[in-house]
C-alpha cells in the first residue's frame, strides 16, 4: 500500500513533504517573476549617493518603523500621495516596504519634505514634531557613508540584473576613482542646503557623512 510504504521510508517521506511544501511557492511566485520585475517606463536607477543613503537607511533600521507602501485607500493617498505601483520598486534590492508604521509612510517623502527639514529632524525629532517617539540620529552627522560599497552595489546589479547604469560603471578601482567625483558633486549639492558646519567641512574635504547620503535617498523617494 502506497501510504504505508511512504510512512516507513524516511527518504521518500521527506521527499513527499518537500513536494507538498514547495507547491505553493511554485504556483504563486515563479510564474509572475518576469512581469513583476518590470520597471516603469523611463525609470532611472538610483545614483550612487542615493544607494549609499539607502544603505544608511538599512543600517539604522529605518524600515523597522517606516513603511514605503501607500495602499490604494483615500485615507492613505490623502496623507501620503499617489498609491504605490509595482514598477516603482523594480530597482529596489531589497524591497523596503516595511511591516509596521510606528512613524509615517516614506514612499513619497521626497515630495513634501526638504533637505533642511530632514537635517533638523534627524538631530532632534521631538523638537520638530512635538510628541514624536523617534530617536535622534546624531551619529549620522559624524559617521561616514560607505560610498565605495554603494558603487560596488551599482556595478553588481548592472552586471547581474542589467539594471541600466551607464557604461562608465565598471568593477575596477580606476572606474570607481573616476566616478567618485560625481558622487562628491552630488553630496556637495545636498550639503549646500544644509547648515551644519561640520558636515559642510567634511564634504569640502571629499568625505560624505551618512546624513548627506541619507537625505539624498529620502529626497529621491517620490
Amino acid at each position: 500500500m502506497f501510504f504505508h510504504w511512504l510512512e516507513k521510508n524516511p527518504f521518500f517521506f521527506a521527499s513527499a513533504i518537500s513536494i507538498v511544501i514547495s507547491f505553493a511557492g511554485l504556483i504563486e511566485i515563479v510564474p509572475n517573476f518576469a512581469k513583476a520585475a518590470k520597471p516603469l517606463v523611463d525609470m532611472k536607477p538610483r545614483s550612487v549617493l542615493e544607494l549609499a543613503g539607502k544603505n544608511v537607511y538599512m543600517k539604522d533600521g529605518c524600515m523597522t518603523c517606516h513603511s514605503q507602501m501607500i495602499r490604494p485607500f483615500k485615507s492613505e493617498t490623502d496623507r501620503y500621495g499617489d498609491y504605490s505601483l509595482s514598477g516603482e520598486y523594480a530597482y529596489d534590492r531589497p524591497f523596503l516596504w516595511g511591516s509596521k508604521r510606528t512613524g509615517p509612510d516614506l514612499h513619497r517623502v521626497g515630495n513634501y519634505r526638504t533637505t533642511d527639514w530632514h537635517e533638523n529632524h534627524m538631530l532632534n525629532p521631538a523638537e520638530i514634531v512635538p510628541g514624536s517617539i523617534m530617536p535622534a540620529y546624531k551619529h549620522q552627522f559624524t559617521n561616514l557613508a560607505d560610498i565605495e560599497t554603494a558603487y560596488a552595489e551599482a556595478v553588481t546589479v548592472k552586471n547581474a540584473f542589467h539594471t541600466p547604469y551607464g557604461d562608465e560603471f565598471q568593477g575596477t578601482r580606476a572606474a570607481w576613482d573616476a566616478h567618485k567625483t560625481k558622487v562628491l558633486a552630488d553630496a556637495a549639492a545636498i550639503a549646500a542646503d544644509m547648515k551644519n558646519q561640520d558636515v559642510k567641512d567634511a564634504v569640502a574635504k571629499g568625505e560624505v557623512p551618512e546624513i548627506v547620503a541619507l537625505i539624498a535617498y529620502l529626497n529621491s523617494l517620490k
Partner: protein, 488 residues
C-alpha cells in the same frame, strides 16, 4: 557494539542546547523589554550611543528569539526526544556525537557573531532574514549538520515506525532549509567587483515586488516551520509523556500534519494585502489563511482531548498547566491570524500594533510556554534530580500568563485605535488626525506593554533560576521517572 545492559540515552547535547535556550531566551526577552520601554519612553534610546536605538535593537530582539532561543529549544528537545521515540541512544554512534558537537559549537559562535553584526548595523534588512551573507552561510552549515544528525539517528533506529513528533521535526528541517536558502539568495558586492567596498555587503537576487513576495513567503513560513511545526512536535511528545495519556487520536495528528504542510505555505501573501502584489495572490493568501484554521485547530483540539478524563492533573501538575495553556494560546493565535488576513480587517490592522500583538500571543503564550515546559520535563531526567521548586513554577505560571494577557490586550486596543484614527475623516471628507496624534494616543498602551514585558522577563528569570537550582540543589533521583515529573 557492547551489550545493551549498560546502554543509556545520552543527554549531553540536549543539556548543552538547553543552556543555550536559557541564555538566548534571557537575552532576547531582555532586549524585547528594552525596546518596548523605548516606545513608551523615547529617552531610553540613548543608553548605548548609536548602538542603543530602537531600530538597531529590534532586529536583535527578533533574531535572538527566533534563531537563538527557539532554534536552541528545537535542537535541545530533538536531541532528547529524538533518541527516545526512535529507541536508540546517541552514545551508539560516535559519528553522530561528533556531528552534534560540531553543530553546537558552530551554532553558538555563529549566533554570537551574528548578533554583534546586527548591533553594528550589518543588515540585509529583510525581516527575520537580516543576517548578511557570511552568517547565512553559517546557518546553512549548522542546518546541514543537524540534517545529518536527524537522518543518521533515523538510520540506526530500533523503532521502525516514525512517531508523529519525528515527522514534525523532519518537516521543520526541510521547510526551514528550503525557505532560508531561497529567501537569502544574494550576491556579495565585494566579490562581484574587483574588491570594491565592504566584504559583508550583498544585494538581493530579487527586486521590489518579487523580493517582497519571496520575503513574506519566507517570513510567514519561518513562523510556520519554526514557531508552529516543531512546537507541535514537542507537545505531541511531552504532553502524552508527562500525563501518561497517549495522544487522543493518532490518526487526527497525521491528517493535521499533511493539512498543515499543504495549506501553510499559501498563506504568506496575506502579509502583502493591498500592496502591489497581484490581486489573485492576495486573495489566495487570504482564503488559505482561513482554511488554515482547520489543521491548526485539528492539532490543538487533539492536544486538549489528550487530557480527556485526566483534567485533575491540570490542578495538580504545573507542567500540565503550562502545556494546556500553550495549546489554548495556539488556538487563540491561529484564529486571530486568519481574522487579520481577511482583506477588510487587514486594511485596518496592517502596519499597526495589532500585528506585534498577534505575534506575541503566539510566541509568548505558545512557543515559550511549550519550550519552558519541555525543559521542565527534561531537566530531572537529564540531571537526575528532582525539580527544585513547584511553588516557584506556579508563581511563574501566573506571572507570565498575566503578562501575556496584558501584552496582547493592550496591543489589540492600540492597533485598532491607530488603524481607525488613520482613516478617520470629518464631515467634509478631510483627514481628522495628523500622524503624530495617532502616536501620542498610544502612550498608555506602550506603558502597559512595557509592564507586561517586565513581568514576563521576571518569570523567565524565575524559570532559569529554578532550572539552575534543580541542577545544583535538587533532590537526587535514583531512578528515571516514567511519566509525571517529580518536583519539590
Amino acid at each position: 557494539m557492547q551489550s545493551n545492559a549498560a546502554l543509556e540515552y545520552d543527554y549531553s547535547l540536549a543539556k548543552k542546547f538547553t543552556f543555550l535556550t536559557i541564555l538566548f531566551g534571557f537575552l532576547g526577552m531582555l532586549v524585547g523589554t528594552i525596546i518596548a520601554a523605548q516606545m513608551a519612553f523615547p529617552e531610553l534610546n540613548y543608553l548605548l550611543g548609536e548602538y542603543g536605538t530602537f531600530s538597531r535593537l529590534r532586529p536583535i530582539h527578533t533574531n535572538t528569539v527566533v534563531f537563538g532561543f527557539t532554534v536552541s529549544g528545537i535542537f535541545a528537545t530533538w536531541f532528547y526526544l529524538g533518541q527516545r521515540v526512535l529507541k536508540v541512544s546517541m552514545a551508539e554512534s560516535k559519528f553522530l556525537m561528533i556531528i552534534g558537537n560540531l553543530q553546537f559549537w558552530i551554532y553558538f559562535v555563529g549566533a554570537l557573531l551574528a548578533t554583534v553584526s546586527l548591533l553594528f548595523g550589518v543588515s540585509a534588512s529583510k525581516e527575520y532574514a537580516e543576517y548578511e551573507w557570511p552568517f547565512d552561510l553559517v546557518v546553512v552549515v549548522v542546518w546541514v549538520l543537524w540534517g545529518i544528525g536527524i537522518m543518521g539517528l533515523i538510520g540506526i533506529r530500533r523503532e521502525k515506525a516514525l512517531y508523529i513528533s519525528v515527522w514534525y521535526y523532519l518537516a521543520c528541517f526541510l521547510g526551514i532549509a528550503m525557505l532560508y536558502l531561497f529567501n537569502n539568495m544574494s550576491i556579495p558586492t565585494y566579490f562581484a567587483t574587483e574588491g570594491l567596498g565592504s566584504m559583508l555587503h550583498s544585494v538581493s537576487m530579487y527586486s521590489g515586488t518579487n523580493d517582497a513576495l519571496v520575503q513574506w513567503w519566507y517570513g510567514h513560513n519561518a513562523v510556520a516551520f519554526g514557531f508552529t511545526v516543531p512546537i507541535v512536535g514537542m507537545i505531541y511528545y511531552f504532553l502524552p509523556k508527562e500525563s501518561g495519556q497517549a495522544i487522543y487520536s493518532y490518526k487526527l495528528s497525521l491528517l493535521s500534519f499533511w493539512g498543515l504542510m499543504f495549506v501553510y505555505l499559501w498563506a504568506g501573501s496575506h502579509h502583502l494585502l493591498w500592496s502591489t502584489v497581484p490581486d489573485w495572490m492576495q486573495t489566495m493568501g487570504s482564503a488559505f489563511s482561513v482554511v488554515l484554521i482547520l489543521p491548526s485547530w485539528g492539532s490543538a483540539i487533539n492536544m486538549l482531548l489528550t487530557m480527556k478524563g485526566e483534567w485533575n492533573q491540570l490542578t495538580e501538575n504545573p507542567l500540565i498547566k503550562f502545556m494546556v495553556l500553550a495549546s489554548t494560546f495556539y488556538m487563540l493565535s491561529t484564529i486571530e491570524g486568519p481574522i487579520q488576513a481577511i482583506k477588510s480587517v487587514n486594511a485596518i490592522a496592517h502596519f499597526t500594533d495589532w500585528i506585534p500583538g498577534h505575534v506575541h500571543d503566539g510566541v509568548l503564550g505558545w512557543v515559550v510556554f511549550m519550550i519552558m515546559a519541555a525543559i521542565f520535563h527534561m531537566a530531572p531526567r537529564m540531571f537526575k534530580r528532582e525539580l527544585y521548586s513547584k511553588k516557584m513554577m506556579e508563581q511563574q505560571f501566573w506571572l507570565q500568563t498575566t503578562a501575556v494577557v496584558l501584552y496582547f490586550t493592550s496591543m489589540w486596543i492600540a492597533g485598532i485605535t491607530q488603524g481607525m484614527m488613520w482613516r478617520a475623516v470629518d464631515e467634509y471628507g478631510n483627514l481628522m488626525y495628523s500622524f503624530i496624534d495617532t502616536v501620542t494616543v498610544l502612550h498608555p498602551y506602550y506603558v502597559i506593554r512595557t509592564v507586561a514585558g517586565v513581568l514576563y522577563l521576571t518569570g523567565f528569570v524565575m524559570f532559569a533560576y529554578n532550572i539552575y537550582k534543580t541542577m545544583t540543589a535538587g533532590k537526587v533521583l535514583t531512578q528515571e521517572p516514567q511519566f509525571r515529573t517529580p518536583m519539590a
